[in-house]
């Protein structure tokens, strides 16, 4: 539809400008503040050059949190994808109580992360919580869920998986429900078994939805901090700290606004680059280009 030049901006601009206006100031502000020494006792936009950036390079806690995030986000999103896909496959077709399962499996994503993380904290409570209690009943030894880095990371992943697998589940189930029947008929006719049908039919057909779902989840997971905040406060030590949480500590709790500005920008750039690369790789790996 050409020849409608005048009208097209009428549609786009309200939204674009709104977002732009809302976003541009924070962005400029952050860029500027990252070159300032703004902190709790000196809340001023002075100019200290790249000092914050130099400091950042030496901040092992920051870099460790980024590495951790990559493993954490990558890991949980993968698990979410696998479970979400698995569950979507199980309640896709005939199954008793299908609607009940579907609703139930959606509910966790509807809950407020900070609030549910508080509930999870009580669940993982080492002496008063049900998890260790159940382990005890099974005759297993109690696990210091939130006080040792291994279990704490596990607990964190559990919460993330619980909260966000439904998101995957929803996208993938909707995807499955919109698949045509014929390819499955064809596979049955060709004599393919369940496994082969999945790998050769279901999975390739679901590839575009999968990529979209994984990318969106990665974007959201990269901000992981609410559950860290409530569940472990980054501890023990700094073993569950994510950039989101570290930025929060530096930028808000300790009010190192300038320094956190520098870290935020770096992080933002890193994330955009990483996610773009990941998206491109996934797209290529699943050969989605040129395929509608």
């Amino acid at each position: 539809m050409d020849g409608l030049r005048r009208h097209k901006s009428m549609f786009l601009l309200p939204g674009l400008l709104t977002l732009f206006l809302i976003i541009i100031f924070p962005l400029l502000f952050t860029i500027r503040v990252s070159f300032s020494g703004w902190n709790v006792s000196n809340p001023q936009m002075d100019f200290i050059g790249g000092a914050n950036y130099t400091a950042m390079l030496d901040d092992s806690r920051y870099w460790a949190s980024i590495t951790r995030l990559i493993l954490l986000a990558g890991g949980t999103v993968l698990i979410q994808y696998l479970i979400g896909f698995g569950m979507a496959l199980l309640v896709w077709r005939e199954v008793l109580g299908r609607r009940f399962w579907r609703v139930l499996f959606l509910v966790p994503m509807m809950t407020t992360p900070v609030v549910m993380a508080a509930i999870w904290q009580t669940i993982f409570h080492e002496s008063l919580g049900p998890v260790n209690d159940s382990l005890g009943m099974l005759g297993l030894s109690e696990i210091p869920w939130l006080t040792e880095s291994g279990p704490a990371l596990f607990a964190l992943k559990t919460v993330e998986v619980w909260q966000w697998t439904p998101f995957m589940f929803l996208l993938l189930l909707a995807g499955l429900l919109s698949l045509p029947k014929e390819p499955f008929m064809a596979a049955a006719i060709d004599g393919a078994g369940t496994w082969r049908t999945f790998w050769k039919v279901t999975f390739p057909l679901m590839a575009p939805v999968s990529v979209a779902a994984v990318i969106i989840r990665l974007i959201e997971a990269s901000k992981l901090s609410d559950s860290v905040y409530v569940l472990t406060s980054g501890g023990p030590g700094s073993s569950t700290e994510t950039p989101g949480y570290y930025l929060y500590i530096q930028g808000l709790r300790d009010q190192q606004t300038g320094y956190s500005g520098a870290m935020s920008l770096t992080y933002l750039v890193l994330m955009i680059v990483t996610l773009t690369v990941v998206a491109a790789l996934l797209t290529r790996a699943l050969k989605l280009k040129g395929d509608s």
């Binding site: 014929e182 008929m185 064809a186 049955a188 006719i189 004599g191 050769k200 390739p204």
Partner: protein, 359 residues
Amino acid sequence: MAQLDIIDVGHTYAPGAEEERWALKPLKLTFESGRTYALVGPSGCGKTTLLNILSGLVRPSRGRVLFDGVDVTALPTKARNIAQVFQFPVIYKSMTVYDNLAFPLQCRRQDKARIDAKVRQVAEALDLHDRLRQPARGLTADDKQLISLGRGLVRDDVAAVLMDEPLTVIDPQLKHSLRRKIREITEQFRPTVIYVTHDQYEAMSFAQELLVMKDGRAVQQGTPEQLFEAPSSTYVGYFIGSPAMNFLTVDRNDGPFTLGGRPLSVAWDIPRRTTEVRVGVRPEYVKVVTDPGPNTFPGRLRGVSDHGAQRVLDIEVAGQPVRAKTPREEGVPVGEEVLVHLPRAKVLPYADGKLVLRS
């Protein structure tokens, strides 16, 4: 290749419905081994239900389906050993053309050399042999349909190839060549083919035998020629042929048939009946003549439609419309008043909408 027998098979999607309202009324049919059949009829006629019963997607409410004498009624699709080409091209997106063709054999765990030989043979026939290494999803819709067909052909043991309106999404210009290709291939491999379509044109040019369906019933089964020359009902007469067969209501008072008061001889004599009798004659056989004679009636020329090489003349004979299809070279009659000749051998008698057979 197998013979498919449909014995007293009927189906309803609403259990408990009376038989009159079934989607497919109980019928008995035989599809002979190695022949091509077309199921043709308007949407909702039951042809898709019948196809689904054959493929095992639908289990009939009644009756049995035999493949080479073996009862497969209860078997699922996978166990029926059929091949199917769907309306929308179905290929395995993640695989190459070669792997697509090899897939059914790989699923059956045949040895590699055998698979390779078979795939190459079929690919050759499909004109896909030079694209075997390409990813299948890059092909055009018509080539994808060929792959679908090919996946059936690589299997030696396939009982029947079912085709469900395979040309629906093919570009009009390519329909012709794809149909031609499919036909050539089926001539070569001679599987039992059951081809479902709503398009008579497709059905007739593709199949050796047609099964015209309507309202869940098989109306007529026969070769294209049979359906053209002797439609068993006014419906088939209307449905097959373009323009449709002319049907004229005739009178019969104690003697021969009359049309507008003039005697009309028909192809054969029929028993006397009280019911309304109509005669059918194909527009191709209606001739505009200059001289009066037997079976020749006066008419009025109402309109001319120029189809190019032919013209279709709309003529009113005894107050009833008659169409005549005339070659262009015969020109258009001058003036409104014309004489129409209905050749006796081509005038068929119908009672209650059914062809009355020669007794």
